[in-house]
Symmetry: C2
Subunit: 193 residues, 2 copies
């Protein structure tokens, strides 16, 4: 089919492979996103993936690297009025999730974590690094317990809205979500336990 050797020009094939991989991991999970299918969509030979990423797991770990810095996403929360921090946090996270890149990353973690222990640990760590760390900075006592509660609520929102796509949850606008769920987060952050 294609001529064999090196291509003229220098468009970044490696990045293209990585994008396709992210797409397919997010859409089909680890096993169904086969090297051949990824290579096919990226119009590339499967062996090239091994060449760049070493193995399929190598490709996965690189695909699962955070596309945004959680500290940046949650920056605004620290500057908000103390009794609307919950609302601000929901607004910031939903805002991020609504962008294709972040949503895809979330779905990629979830779908691959379902069958791959390594991915599950990445997801655990990611949640810790974003929510736990952020909450710890906003709060002055019982940080672990408070962030645990916040994580249950926020993870559940993402899970039902973007993965399960429950119609009743999908139907809500970001503003409605901030208004309804914000107070829950607020309570988890500041109320006595």
């Amino acid at each position: 089919m294609k001529p064999r050797g090196r291509r003229p020009g220098d468009e970044d094939t490696r990045a293209r492979i990585l994008n396709v991989a992210r797409e397919q991991f997010a859409h089909s999970g680890y096993e169904r996103a086969s090297m051949r299918s990824i290579a096919g969509q990226a119009q590339v030979d499967p062996a090239l993936i091994t060449h760049y990423f070493g193995s399929k797991v190598g490709l996965l770990t690189e695909a699962l690297r955070l596309p945004v810095d959680p500290a940046v996403v949650l920056e605004s929360v620290g500057h908000s009025e103390p009794d609307h921090m919950g609302e601000a946090l929901v607004r910031a996270m939903v805002g991020a999730w609504e962008t294709p890149v972040v949503r895809q990353h979330f779905l990629g973690m979830l779908r691959t974590a379902a069958s791959h222990e390594v991915a599950r640990e990445v997801m655990q760590q990611t949640l810790h690094d974003s929510v736990q760390v952020a909450v710890a900075r906003l709060v002055d006592d019982d940080a672990d317990r408070r962030s645990a509660l916040v994580m249950t609520q926020m993870a559940g929102l993402a899970f039902t809205r973007y993965f399960l796509q429950l119609p009743e949850v999908v139907a809500l606008t970001p503003e409605e979500l901030a208004a309804s769920i914000g107070p829950t987060i607020q309570r988890y952050l500041v109320d006595p336990l």
Copy 2:
């Protein structure tokens, strides 16, 4: 290896296969729980699975049938004092999830749903049939919206505690969960929106 034909005695092989399938789907997801591996653990020839369940998808759909009636689990919630319904609901659902059978069913749905559209729809329907229906009976206005909110919180609790196993969430006792998350549910059920 084994002799060929029908076995003497009448122990229910079909049920044994189904149990192993549930176990493996919950532990490894759809693709890694191969017919051969399920058959192996059930000490049976792979072809026997096809004979009983038609195909792998047939096995999956049978494995995903609800092991408990959600109406029974949530029965007590209806009889509780109106201002402690939230707490009662959390207590009832966590109580169920802590049993091996229900926990396994939850993980089975989740892990197979990650790569199998059919399973995702089953999970969606299951959540609807348990939470949505129950909430609709407890509440007198905005049932859809209220149950949407309840589902985000409860799904998130199950997800972080039993699937992700976030240490901070695992550390909490069922009683602590009821005390901390109960009020959230209560608010979703009765507060003005």
